[in-house]
Symmetry: C2
Subunit: 668 residues, 2 copies
């Protein structure tokens, strides 16, 4: 670290201490900011000043301290950020964080009503969880905006405009490397013990997970657990079908119908569970934040019609053009290409079969596996290339909001993955009409994808992280891994950990698994069993991954699983169609309608339409929010309306009084 | 009128005048309250006192005056109600009425910001339309609640409890006959001139209609007009198909596909139009009112979990039992019965045909018409009986809220009407496979129902009303109808007019018409033409009905057409299925697939699924609210968030300052 930096920083330190004295509070570092090690001193000084500056002067009013480490380590340029309890309470009110009251109801926290809330004591020191504090600090940092600055001090080439988020600009220019919340070793140990260390059958500690990782991640684990339990009835019913090969018509239909109705019910009931969780966690009634433009968004400076602020604007017509003239054709082309490769695979398969029949040697029987292996590798490679292309294209579409970027990305990736995973199965089922091959492919695909996923996703990173840990321990000259690292080393270790990129891939995996289970459920009744087994281990490996492998992610408020609910519902609609078609095509059913194909098709058609109609009616009839929570929500609404009314009646009475006095004055 | 009443009323009069003096404002009667002519004097006195009492004392703070009429007329016991401008302004703020600002944006009216609003001048005397004033007064009257009264004075047998709406109780016991808003002859004349008197092609004056009748009725006319325009392309394309009998496969498919896609697009675009209208009328952003229990709701006194007030409660489990164990089976039984009658009709039709073929006489050719006539009469009778039964059953289900009562009633009536109107057509199409008969029945049903409806709905009541008017004129000894009635007679005349029962029947008629047009559109392309012609006259007859036949209805705020949007969308989904089936069954198409029925069915099936998928994608892709209105809504949200933030920053700064002072105090 250059010398001049230290002097600047000790000055900042002093200022930091001043702020501390002012509030008379202790500094607990919560968030780490990593700057580029060659960052300009002037810029650092300016940033630090802006972070601890008073809110009235446009600062974030947070505490910041340089992280002083042994001089041997020159790779990091870290700052620790914290905040006083008072500042956190005020910011929480501003953000609208919802907490539980003494009477068990959930309300938006306000400082004036602080004593109404359940765990508010000792001036609110431990009122918010660490994850909440970190989330609050993140929002404060994100909302640090340029006031009159036109450039970043020290970097005359990096432009700013009033209202531009400073951290986003610094990050996009590489001056800010990252900012992340710190782990709490103590709490993490407790959490991991109750979550995955003890081997016993129990629910996941969802509240604790939420307490440590936030709502979005906890909802993912909640959904994973829910889905696992929901698949158990399907698995239990599937086992005898598999064991005794019950393939007569009535039993078959019964099983398929049960599956279809069940998958609708389970998705609807999940919405209710989700609402319960979100209510308990305070995200259901939380007011929506005003969404800022995403970091990568660019455009000509103009006036935002909503905020009236000067900021980059980009014509939505141009975006539509890009979407419909470039992205959509590109995606369609990719889909076509993927289908083309699938056809080549089937040709190769045929060729290998022919070759094996001709030669009948050991070599030729090995050749039989070749097409599958090549296809699997090609698919994996294609998936990865496509993912990059999709990310690039969606970025190029230049969406203003992160949410709309995410929606477009999810849609692109989902369509392609769906086709890649299921096209060959559809082809086998509805073109080749080979039920045996379908069952075989389904089993192979399901099992291999599950095993591969768990290795790539959790155990490999875990092993790498373990090795890195060992290295650090070695460097410090320790032999035992049990002892805790000194705090300074721990911070550095966390800074080097991989970043968790969100729940996207985890949900995608579940989505494809749900597809394998529901699309062809009547052909391979064991799919649900495999899915349940996989999910049980998935919970453990995902938990391990969250606790041990990745940097702690910032808590993310969420009231539902968002676009994935729609994706799962769409899948369950498609599965009605495929299952009805499969039933109609099964030889057992066909033998019942020997005299006329038409009657069979019409019957299947009628069943399909009835099931679909029943599905939509079910969706409509089952309320999305449980009754007690609806009551709670209505109560909140009623209270706020009543408060408003009372306020107005009071004001009206006052105004009438004034009028009367004025009248008297005039009269006299 | 008994003598004692007059003295009581003149006392009230005096009190009313006192209130007037107090505000120094003129009394314009807006609403009429009609009490039973034998109503107890004590009860009247109490009611009048409650209406003019101050808000702080639990009154409505309105002006009320007995309507003194010639002693010859003993049938009415009327009171006129009005309010001061100040009272109206305060109440409008309380209700959250949204008005246009100077800058063209829509905002909830508040007295403190009154000068921001566009038409606010002269203290706000003409700021609200008469319909708005009447609506405000209605809400004030409705929210008049018992405080400590346990009975209605003068009626010891009529119980009250704190918080019970007084007017609802009086009405359910027959003491209050009705309360209705007065017509404004001047404005009505202007409106009817621009609406239906001049015979020229122009849009309806929707804003004026809304101004006079409120949003719900205006939206109905907006939808009627929109649907008429939207049907024109279908009508135009349908004409050559009808004239030249283009029945080859490609042209047929083209027409049907166009219709199906068009019907989706038109319903989606309507949502956008509706949002535009609702935004302009201020109902889109209006905060929802807290719904009160509906008048007929009864139960044991208990604590409402939402409001915490003592009021009748009824277990929702019992309601569910009543719905699923009584109502649903009853409806199913009715549906079965209706189908049974349809089968009898077809038997009779067969018998008549056989009879005619045997006899070949004039008498026997008349017999041919007999079954249709009997069936039409029976259907009409059944519809009416069923409607009563549905109303009774839905009332017996004891729904707490008017909205849920309405939803259950609409659903019951809709299902039955759908079956009654379309079952015979479905039977002809899909069981008898007789396309010629289908076309013929469709045309007959459509035309007769349209003609009958217009006569029963508009012209008959109009004629009756005209006759009544004449009688009044005669009684007053006038010969010319042109001169206006004296005001007092006008009030009495209006009290005797029929009450408009809401838009239900009008929407139902449109819904069935939409069914005739879309369900079998590819069989009878002229349906759209007939529908357009009918709707043009329907606009005129409905307008006439609203302006001349019925009592003025209270304005009803509405932001959309509610459950009807869903009903129309469901119809358009069903029409995809029926049209695809009809296409597949047409002889022209069948001749193309002579070798195999199976291929034909599979093709039709594929087309149907693609169309349905396309439909859902379209629904998803077309945003429900136009972009400029979304911007306006976002702007409003942003402003309120910013205001809140500023308020909080200010408060935070103050609180910090206080803390510092306290600290200094402690230090010194």
């Amino acid at each position: 670290m250059p010398k001049s930096a230290l002097t600047v920083r000790s000055l900042e330190m002093k200022m930091g201490l001043l702020v501390e004295e002012d509030f008379g509070l202790k500094f607990t570092p919560l968030v780490v900011i990593e700057l580029d090690k060659n960052a300009n001193e002037e810029a650092i000084k300016w940033l630090v000043k802006r972070i601890w500056d008073k809110k009235e002067h446009g600062g974030a009013e947070l505490m910041i301290e340089p992280f002083l480490m042994s001089s041997s380590d020159e790779n990091h340029n870290l700052f620790l950020v914290g905040a006083s309890t008072k500042r956190l309470l005020l910011a929480a009110e501003e953000i609208g964080i919802v907490k539980e009251c003494e009477d068990g109801s959930m309300r938006a926290f306000t400082c004036s009503n602080r004593n109404m809330f359940k765990d508010f004591k000792d001036g609110g020191d431990s009122f918010f969880s660490m994850a909440e504090c970190q989330y609050i600090i993140k929002l404060q940092l994100d909302s640090l905006r340029a006031i009159n600055e036109r450039i970043i001090p020290g970097y005359p080439q990096i432009k700013l405009y009033p209202g531009k988020s400073i951290l986003r600009r610094l990050m996009s220019k590489g001056i800010l490397v990252q900012y992340f919340p710190l782990h709490d070793k103590e709490e993490l140990k407790k959490l991991s013990y109750s979550w995955y260390s003890k081997f016993q059958l129990s629910y996941q500690p969802l509240d604790d997970i939420r307490h440590y990782f936030g709502e979005a991640i906890s909802l993912y684990f909640g959904f994973l657990e829910y889905l696992t339990f929901a698949l158990i009835p399907m698995a239990l019913i599937g086992i005898p079908y598999y064991l005794f090969a019950w393939e007569d018509f009535e039993k078959y239909t019964l099983f398929a119908t049960f599956n279809l109705v069940w998958s609708t019910v389970l998705l609807e009931v999940w919405k209710r569970c989700c609402a319960s969780l979100a209510y308990r966690w305070g995200t259901l009634i939380r007011k929506k934040e005003f969404e800022e433009p995403r970091p990568g968004f660019h455009g000509v400076l103009g006036i935002n019609p909503v905020t009236g602020r000067e900021e980059p604007v980009y014509s939505s017509f141009k975006r539509q053009l890009r979407i419909y003239l470039v992205s959509v054709p590109f995606v369609l082309l990719c889909l076509y290409f993927s289908l083309y490769i699938m056809m080549i695979y089937f040709d190769m398969e045929n060729w290998a079969l022919g070759y094996h029949e001709e030669e009948q040697s050991v070599w030729s029987s090995l050749v039989l596996f070749l097409p599958s292996i090549i296809y699997a590798i090609v698919i994996e490679v294609l998936n990865r290339i496509y993912r990059y292309a999709a990310e690039f294209l969606t970025g190029w579409e230049n969406h203003r909001l992160e949410s709309s970027y995410q929606n477009h990305l999810v849609l692109k990736v989902l369509v392609f993955n769906f086709l890649n995973c299921f096209a060959s199965l559809f082809y086998i089922a509805f073109v080749l009409h080979d039920m045996k091959l379908l069952r075989q492919s389904l089993a192979t695909l399901l099992i291999t994808s599950q095993i591969l996923n768990q290795i790539v996703e959790a155990f490999l990173p875990y092993w790498l992280q373990k090795r890195r840990n060992k290295k650090v321990h070695k460097k410090l000259g320790r032999t035992s891994m049990d002892k805790e690292l000194p705090w300074a080393e721990q911070v550095k270790l966390e800074a080097d950990m991989d970043t968790y990129l969100g729940t996207f891939d985890d949900y995608l995996e579940l989505f494809l698994q749900f597809g394998y289970v529901s699309l062809f459920s009547c052909v391979f009744p064991l799919a649900a069993v495999l899915a349940v087994l996989n999910n049980v281990t998935e919970i453990y490996s995902d938990a391990l991954k969250m606790c041990q492998v990745f940097k702690r992610p910032f808590s993310q408020p969420a009231a539902n699983i968002g676009v994935w609910q729609l994706a799962f519902e769409t899948m369950s609609v498609i599965s009605v169609v495929t299952n009805c078609a499969l039933l109609g095509m099964s030889p057992q059913v066909k033998s019942l309608f020997q005299e006329s194909d038409t009657n069979l098709i019409l019957l299947v058609l009628a069943v399909e339409h009835i099931l679909l109609a029943f599905k939509f009616i079910l969706m409509f009839v089952i309320p999305d929010v449980p009754k007690d929570i609806r009551t709670q929500l209505a109560k909140l609404e009623f209270e706020s309306l009543e408060a408003l009314k009372q306020q107005q009646t009071q004001r009206a009475a006052e105004s009438l009084k004034e009028d009367r006095e004025e009248f008297k004055l005039k009269a006299s």
